[in-house]
């Protein structure tokens, strides 16, 4: 058969069609339906292989073609299907469709971690001589990647004070390609006015990225405010069980095309097992987030009223500087809280952490199990006191990630830890 022979027959229907527009197998209907319905059914086919209710786990590293003819169809772009595991996998596509549905985006790309996701996006979007601007409360490792590593490839990184849009505009040059912020930020829970953030980007024709890991699509969908890309560490609320690592970037299909191509080359993908656990976690996403939001609010209020607490950082509290913006733009305020123990040095603060019996002392957040940590020790131990002062990390700060336990239990436990 000559290589240029036109196809004689259309490819046979694939067991797991990839394109949602494929008419032979319909998607679960989720358009216009509630977030609980989207969590359970979003991005999933109505009929699955073997008529199973959940998706099977496709461990296959590679995918067979029936004939050279079928392969030719594929390489000519006449059919959409799997080829090799690094370029795509049915479990990956199912999770990506669900995440896109939850974030109201056209497309989503999952990576092996949140860091792998932001690195994938920035490597795809930035070239030597380009510039990127961060609000300075962004995740330390993201900024570190730009300052220490992208700089080696000639990318220039600027940092401006979080929420200072005037400073951000002043820092924009003709080579600026990306504006980056987190919202809410960690551990100060500063909420960014996303409309203004997107407007600055549009006015200067610079793309915008929001790390919305702490908010999740349940509490805010940044694309609706005109932001170009949303990043989540799916390790946190999306996976939700403290048992997987993953990251995702959501955005337009056109905007993400180069990111998808680069991921296929860099290879920061997930195993099918991991993707299945992520999809399974997402089934209870709405339910868990309702509880995280409720527990966050109740624990924050309890802490604010406690005499041993100097200050609480939680955007649901009126005392938080971002409360107005948060109340206007977010459906809920999440499960992460930071607070300062009144008149406590680092040892007294550590004693409160150690006295808490329900949360485990561990980094990360967003799982069903509550976690507690002292940022001074967990993440900023190697910094100088001056650096910590600059980052706003006092010795008496505690970060608490509310799980989905009963709020009464979390509060009683914090009470005994603070009173002890």
């Amino acid at each position: 058969m000559a290589i240029d022979t036109p196809a004689q027959r259309p490819p046979k229907p694939h067991l797991t069609p990839l394109a949602s527009e494929n008419s032979s197998v319909s998607m679960q209907p989720t358009s216009g339906r509630g977030p609980g319905t989207v969590s359970v059914h979003g991005g999933e086919y109505r009929s699955k292989p073997g008529d199973a209710i959940p998706d099977p786990i496709f461990c296959a590293a590679t995918y067979a073609f029936d004939s050279t003819e079928e392969l030719l169809h594929y390489v000519r772009g006449e059919s959409e299907r799997e080829e090799y595991g690094r370029y795509g996998n049915p479990n990956e596509r199912a999770v990506e469709r669900k995440l896109a549905a939850l974030d109201a985006s056209e497309d989503a790309i999952v990576f092996s971690t949140g860091m792998s996701a932001i690195v994938g996006l920035l490597m795809a979007k930035l070239s030597a001589g380009d510039e990127i601007i961060f609000f300075d409360q962004c995740y330390r490792r993201s900024r570190e990647f730009c300052l220490k590593h992208l700089s080696r490839f000639g990318v220039v990184t600027h940092q401006v004070p979080t929420g200072d849009f005037a400073a951000m505009e002043r820092a924009i040059t003709p080579r600026t390609r990306m504006l980056v912020s987190e919202s809410p930020t960690n551990p100060h829970l500063t909420v960014i006015d996303l409309e203004q953030f997107a407007a600055v980007g549009r006015a200067h024709e610079v793309e915008t990225l929001i790390d919305a890991t702490l908010a999740t699509p349940m509490n805010v969908q940044p694309l609706k405010f005109g932001v170009d890309y949303v990043l989540h560490s799916a390790t946190k609320y999306l996976g939700g069980h403290n048992d997987l690592l993953a990251g995702v970037i959501c955005g337009s299909r056109a905007g993400l095309e180069s990111v998808r191509n680069l991921r296929g080359i860099m290879g920061g993908i997930n195993s099918a097992h991991n993707l299945y656990l992520l999809q399974r976690g997402l089934k209870t996403f709405e339910l868990r987030m309702q509880r995280h939001n409720e527990n966050g609010m109740r624990v924050a209020r309890f802490l604010e009223d406690h005499p041993r607490v100097e200050r609480v950082f939680y955007p649901g509290l009126q005392s938080h500087p971002s409360h107005q913006v948060a109340a206007r733009t977010m459906h809920g305020f999440g499960g992460l809280i930071s607070f300062l123990v009144k008149d406590a040095d680092w040892q007294e603060t550590a004693r409160v952490v150690d006295a808490a019996r329900i949360p485990r002392i561990a980094p990360s957040l967003g799982g069903v199990e509550s976690l507690i940590e002292q940022p001074l020790i967990m993440s900023y131990y190697s910094c100088t006191p001056e650096e910590r002062e600059r980052f706003g990390i006092p010795d008496n700060m505690i970060r608490y990630s509310c799980g989905i336990e009963n709020a009464e239990d979390l509060i009683a436990d914090l009470q005994q830890a603070l009173d002890g």
Partner: protein
Amino acid sequence: MKFRTRAIHVGNEVDPQTGAVVIPIHLASTFRQPGAGKWGTFDYSRSGNPTRAALETTIASLEGGCGALAFSSGMAAIHCVTMLLKQGDHIVAGCDLYGGAYRLFHQISSRAGITVTLADMTDIDAVRGAIRPETRLLWAESIGNPLFTIPDLAALAEIAHQRGALLGVDNTFATPVLVRPLQFGVDIVMHSATKYLGGHSDCLGGTLAVSDPDLHKQLYFVQNATGAVLDPLTSYLVSRGIKTLDLRVREQSASAMRVAQWLAEHPRVKRVLYPGLSYHPGHPLAAHQFDQLFGPMLCFELHADFAQTAAVCEATELFTLAVSLGAVESLIEQPASMSHASYAAEDRARFGISDGLIRLSIGLEDVEDIIADLQQAIARVFSSDGRS
């Protein structure tokens, strides 16, 4: 600690060697021992496995028992209970017994010379009348299927114990979120973990929980000797599912109540079987035994023939046509053609399983979406035949 907090933390202690905040999946089939003839906590995975033990610890806590055992399926768990019996022993079981248990008692246990009598578990006199001197086991379901009968657990326990028998209760439909049967004096509580405990339609498993250490020992002996244990991967997935059990069952029960109330008002609906409805015969007992929740399962009967009822089930767009229950996805089925098709037609009629009956397992979708789907499915079938 409250139920939900225990569901997350009991049995999920931090791994002492690594600090991991979730239990590791121990695939090991065998474990190194401290010395020849000296045994560590775990020796061979059929006899005990750390991941399975973690799940068993959680189940025991949630059911308020002293111990629990995890099996490869719900039937394996029930089978283990029947293995406590011997030739000549007798079982009294509910007349709306799960078909798999019915088959086990009548076709497997019977081979060992064990006999079974079915009785209406909601009729204490009938149960008393069915008990014989050789009755060793009473077997009930905390919510019967598909008519949602509710037995009086404390009364059954009292009769069983007066007559020297054990009372076993299948708590699959109700889950420990609604009721902890051991608190009412029940001896053995059983679950098909495939349903709400796992909760995601992706595990098969069964559990037993007891409050008597001696009974635990006897059941463990049978489990270890017969070998139908739950594998470590599934044990992990069930443990993971249990962390959201309380949230799921509460949400699904609240949705089921709204669906039941909506169906009760629908002109095409003849009757709704849901213990949360005040006119359901089991309602007073359910209100007493359950924690203000009535579960995610319900049935309703249409003014419809067999074919129309099947057509309604097939016309849903959000529901999946499937037996089983307990999933995050809503499931729909017609008992007459699916879950209870093996019953003789006259038995179906006798037990009230009419051709117009539809069983729903309410999932985690938005309740508005669930109701809208039922509405369009009923409307579609009855507008096409021109009778509505």
